[in-house]
Symmetry: D2
Subunit: 342 residues, 4 copies
C-alpha cells in the first residue's frame, strides 16, 4: 500500500531533506508540495539537486485536497506552523517539524517564544517526537511534534542518565557545536559564507536558547523535580552536524553502562566502546547517532559526547521515522542510508 | 539471488564509497574486504561511518577464497592493481577502479605511466568502463576498467559532439575544477586542510595530466583521426565534485540538441534547459551528471559545463553500475541515491 | 604630513579592507566614515575585527565636512556611486571602487549596466585605476576609477601580451575562479554558507559578465582593433582570491619573456619561474599578484595563470595604491603586508 | 639599531608566521633560517607566499654563526627543541615556541611528555612566556618558553579570576574549539582536507591533553593550592583560531569587573561589553584577544569566552612580543596588524 504524502513548507532545507529520504521509501508517494511564496514554481528550480525526481509542482496551501492525503509533514517556521495546523482537517495525521507543539504548557511556550499559542487544543494532544522514548505514543498519535535538533542531541546523552539517577542534576554542562544548516535557508548576514567560513562563535549564551524549554520539560519530568542545565551552542563552519559535549558528575563506567543498556536494541543509536569519541563526519547525511563516553582525570566526572546530522536524525529523518510508526510501516524504512564520508 | 562481492583495497575512499552504495543494494553481499596494510583491523576502526554495518574484517589478499566470489572490485593504486589482477583467477569478474586497464595500447600506457605494463594479456581483453557508451561490451566482459574521474566528466561533454562532428576538433579547451577526494587518502602536504582550504590552484598544467591518455584514445577513435585537446585541472577546497568547463567552436543550439538527443534515455545524465548551468552542489553523493550548454557572445562558440561526484559517478558509482551489467542486474540498482544538499 | 581620509560606504567588505590597510599607513588618518543605512552606529558593531582601532562613528553623507578631507574613497554599489560622486566638491580627490567610472563611452556603460550614466562629465575625466599601466595619469587625476577585480586579474595576464602582439587575438579564453567576498556583503540565497561551501559553479556564462566591458575597452585600445575574449567566471567556496587561467596561442617562451620584462620593476607583480603555477593561498590578504606561464603539449599554445586577492589588490589595495600616487606618497606605503598563510 | 634574528625550524607554520610578522618590524633583520631537513632550499620553495621577501636560504644548524645573532627563535617540535637549545651558546637570547621549557618541575615534565628532560639546567632558568603576566621576568630573561596556544587562551580567561578568588576552583570546565593549524604541518590522516572539512570532533578527552600541565602549574601557583580543571579540546574545520568557553561559578558581574580591570591597560586584550561574545573571525591573523562574559540563567554561574589566533597571539605573535621585551623594543612593534576579515 502506498501512502500519499503532503509536505507543507517544501522550499526549505528540512522540506528538501524529507524529499531526499522519501524518494527512497518504497511505500510513500509525494502527492503535494506546498510553498506559498514559491507556488507555481517547479521543485527543480528551487532545489536543482532534486531535478531527476518526478515531483508535483509547488502549490499554495488552499490548492491541496487533504482528503486525498494520508500524512502531512509540516516544515514551516514556528508560529506560522501552529496557525496552519490549527486549520488542517482534524483526523489528518501530521508530523510537525517546527517548535510549535514541543512544549506541553502554554505558559512555558509563551515564555520561550514570546507569543500566546494559537492552537492550544492541538498543543494538548501533540506527542513529543523523540522516537526512541515516545514510540508507543507516536504510534497512536495524530499530531507529532518534531524535537529541536539541539534538544534531540542533548537528550540522547542525558535522558537515560537522568532517568536512572546516575549523575548529579545540578551541575550538568552541555556545550554544543552546531552546523549552519540548522539556521535554515534564511537571509541573515551572519549566515553568509564570507562571514561564517573559517571562524566560529558562541550564540544564545547564558541560558537563553529556546531549546532549553524542551530540556527543562523533559528532564524535570524524568527526574520528578526541577532540572535546569547549562547549555551553550556554538556555530561551526560546516553544513551538517551537531556535536554535544556533556560534562556530568557520576561514575564514568556507570554512565557508560547506563547508555549502553538504554540503546542496546536501538538500530540508529550507536554507543562507541568506552573511551572512544565520535565525529560529525561519520554521521553526515544519515539517521545515526554516535555516542562516546570518557572518564575525566578528576574522579567521578565523565564527559559524554554525541553527534548526529541536524537535518536527518535531528529533523527530517526523525520526522520520517515517526511517520513510519504512525502509518504502521517498519520504523526504519527509508532511513538506512549510510553516512556520506568523506 | 545474492551476488557475493569482494573489494580489494577497501581502506581507501573509493573502497568506502563502494561499501556505502552496496549497503543499499538488495542483491549484493560483501563477502570479503582486502586491505593488506590494515589486515586484521575491523572496518569501523578504518571508517567509523560504516560502524553500523555488519562487515567482514579486513584481510590480506591471500586469505580470500575467490572461488566463493561472484565479482571483485579492485580499488588499488595503479601499478599495484595490474599486478594483483594478473594473479586473480581467470574467469572471475573484475571491475578495476585504477588507471591500469584504461589504455588499449601498451606503449601509450608506458608513455603516460612510466612503466611497462605487467599484465598485457589482461589489458588486451579489458573493456573501457564508461557505461553509457560501452554498455554491451561491459555486459559481456570479465574485466572492466573504470575510467578516470576527470576523463569521465570530459567525455560526457565531448563524446557526442566529437562523434557527431558538430564541433571543431582542433581548438577544444577543457578547464576542470576538481575536489580533493580525487587525490585519495594519501599523506601529502598539499592535501592537508591547512594547505588547501580557503584557496585553490591549477596542477598538471600544460598537457601532462595522465587522463589525457584516455581523452586522446577515445576522441581519436570517435573522430577517426588524431584529436588532442587542452586540459587543465584545478584543485578546489571541497571534498566531492568535478566541474568541467568546455570551450568549443560550433553552433550552440546544435551542440545542445546533440547532447539532449544523446542522453534522452539515460537516467543518470541530465541535460539542463539551454542556457542553464549546473553546480557540483547538486550532484553530491549521487550517481547523476548534470550538463549545461550556453552560447557565447562570440558567434559559433559554445560553453558546455558538466558536473558529477568524483567518488560516485566518477568512480565507485560507475563501478557498481558496470558490476550490475556484468551480473545481469538492472543497471541502476543501488544507485538512485538522491544528492545530499546542503 | 597626515592626509585626512573619508570612506563613503564603510559598512561593506571593501570599506573594511580599506580601514585594515590604512590602519598601517603612517601618513593617513581616517577622518570620516559614511554609511547611510548604519549611520549612528560605531564601527565595531558593524565590523568587530576593527574594535581596537580608534575610528570615528558612522555618519550620513550630509554630516561630512568635505573641506577638511584630503581624499575620499567611495566604496558604494555601482549606480549609487555615480550619484554621490556627482555631488561631491569638484576639486576633491576621489578614488571610486565601484564600476561607475571604468568605461569611457557612455553608450558602452549603458549597454553593460542598463541605465544611462548620471555623471557623464565626471566619467569623462576619470582615470582607469590599473596602477601599473596608468601610473602617470593617476598621479595627476582627481577621480580614479578602481577596476573590476576580475578585470584586473585578466589584464595582468593579457595586457603585455596584447600590446606586444605576441599572442593571437581571436582565440583568447579566460577561465576564472572567484572567491565569494567579491559578491560583497549582500543577502542573497546563493551566498549563504550552506549553499556555497563544499561545491562550485559557473555564473554569468556566455559573455555576459560586466567586466567584459573593461576587457573590450582596454584590449581593443592596446591592439588598435576590436578584441573580444571569452570569459567565464566560477564561484569557489573560499572567501578571498581570484585565479585566472588564460589559454592563448603564441610561443610560450615569448609569452613568458614578455611578462617577465613587463613586470621586471613592479614590486607587487611576481612572475614565477617558467613552468611554475601560482595559488590563491599565497597572496591572501596581500597586494601581491603571482603569475605563472606553462607551455602546453600542443605547439604554440600557452597557459598563463594569475592570482590575486580580490579585496586587496583587486579592490581596496589597488585603491590605496592609487591614493598614494594622488597624494604624493610612495606608492607602496601601507601595502607591504605579507600574505597570511595558512 | 637593527637586531639580527635567527629562526630555527623555519619550515613549519610558526616559523613562517614569525617571518610574516618580522617582515613588518622596523628593527629586526632575519639573518639565518635553519631547517635541517630542507637545508639548501630557498624559502619560496617551502613557503611561496614569502617569495617577494629577500630571505636567506635554509641552512643546517651547524652552518649558523650564532656570535652574529642577537636573538634566536626556536620553532622546533618538542623534545628536539631542548636538545638544540641545550647546545646553543649560553648567553644567546632564545625564545622557544615548543613545549620543552614551559613546565618548571622536571618530574611534571616527564609525566606529561613521557621522557626525562634533556636540558634541566636550562629548564630551571626559563621564564614562562605569557607576556601580560610575566613581563618583568621576560625583560630580564635569556630563555623564554612560549606557552601552549590552548594554554594561553584558557589563562587569559582564568588567571585573573583564580588570582582574585572570584570563582570556585573545583568546578571549572574549559571547553575549547581549536583550528587545525595548531597541529602543525604534519602528515597525519586526520589532518587531510577530506577528513577534516565539513565535520568536527573532540580529541584528548578526559584530562589527558598536555596543556593541562601548564594549567595545573599556573593556576595552582596563583591559588596557593592545587587546582585541577576539566579541559576538552575539539578540532574545528578552520585554519586559524581558538575559542575557549569557560563555565565557572561566581558572580558574573564580579567576573566581568575582574577581567575588565585586569586588562584595562593591555593593548592586545579586548574585553567586550558585558553580555557580548567574541568570534574567531575577528582576530584572524592578528595578535588580539577578545574576551566576552555572560551571566547564565542559573544564579552564580558565568560563561566566559575568549578567542585568539593560535599562530599569532597563541604562538609566533606572543614570541615576537616577548622578543621585543628582551631586546628593549616597544612591546607592540610589528604586532599591530589588523585582523583579516572576511
Amino acid at each position: 500500500m502506498t501512502h500519499k504524502i503532503a509536505i507543507i513548507g517544501a522550499s526549505g532545507y528540512t522540506g528538501a531533506e524529507l524529499i531526499r529520504l522519501i524518494a527512497g521509501h518504497p511505500n510513500m508517494e509525494i502527492a503535494a508540495l506546498v510553498a506559498n511564496s514559491k507556488a507555481g514554481q517547479t521543485m527543480d528550480s528551487v532545489f536543482p539537486h532534486l531535478r531527476h525526481l518526478s515531483l508535483p509542482p509547488l502549490v499554495t496551501l488552499s490548492e491541496v485536497d487533504f482528503s486525498q492525503i494520508d500524512l502531512c509533514f509540516c516544515a514551516l517556521p514556528h508560529k506560522t506552523s501552529q496557525e496552519v495546523i490549527r486549520d488542517l482537517p482534524r483526523g489528518l495525521k501530521v508530523v510537525d517539524l517546527s517548535a510549535d507543539f514541543r512544549l506541553r504548557d502554554p505558559e512555558v511556550y509563551e515564555h520561550w517564544y514570546g507569543n500566546p499559542h494559537a492552537a492550544i487544543d492541538r498543543q494538548a494532544e501533540a506527542v513529543y517526537g523523540l522516537t526512541e522514548f515516545y514510540r508507543d505514543d507516536i504510534k497512536a498519535a495524530t499530531l507529532v511534534a518534531g524535537t529541536g535538533c539541539n534538544a534531540a542531541t542533548g537528550q540522547y546523552i542525558l535522558r537515560p542518565l537522568v532517568e536512572q539517577g546516575v549523575i548529579g542534576l545540578d551541575d550538568i554542562v552541555l556545550d554544543m557545536k552546531c552546523a549552519v544548516s540548522g539556521a535554515g535557508r534564511s537571509l541573515k548576514e551572519g549566515l553568509l559564507h564570507a562571514e561564517l567560513s573559517e571562524g566560529y562563535n558562541a550564540y544564545s549564551v547564558g541560558g537563553v536558547h529556546r531549546h532549553l524549554g524542551e530540556f527543562d520539560q523533559e528532564f524535570s519530568k524524568l527526574a520528578g523535580r526541577d532540572v535546569r542545565i547549562q547549555f551553550t551552542p556554538h556555530l561551526i563552519p560546516a553544513n551538517r552536524g551537531i556535536l554535544a559535549t556533556a560534562y556530568v558528575s557520576g561514575n564514568p563506567q556507570t554512565v557508560y553502562d547506563t547508555l549502553t543498556q538504554a540503546y542496546a536494541s536501538e538500530e540508529f543509536i550507536q554507543v562507541l566502546p568506552m573511551g572512544e569519541t565520535p565525529s560529525t563526519h561519520h554521521v553526515r547525511g544519515s539517521n545515526y547517532v554516535h555516542i562516546g563516553v570518557c572518564a575525566d582525570r578528576i574522579e567521578n566526572r565523565a564527559i559524554v559526547i554525541a553527534v548526529l546530522d541536524n537535518l536527518t536524525k535531528g529533523s527530517s529523518g526523525q520526522a520520517l521515522q515517526n511517520a513510519n510508526l504512525m502509518l504502521g510501516e517498519e520504523e526504519q524504512t527509508g532511513l538506512r542510508l549510510v553516512p556520506c564520508f568523506p
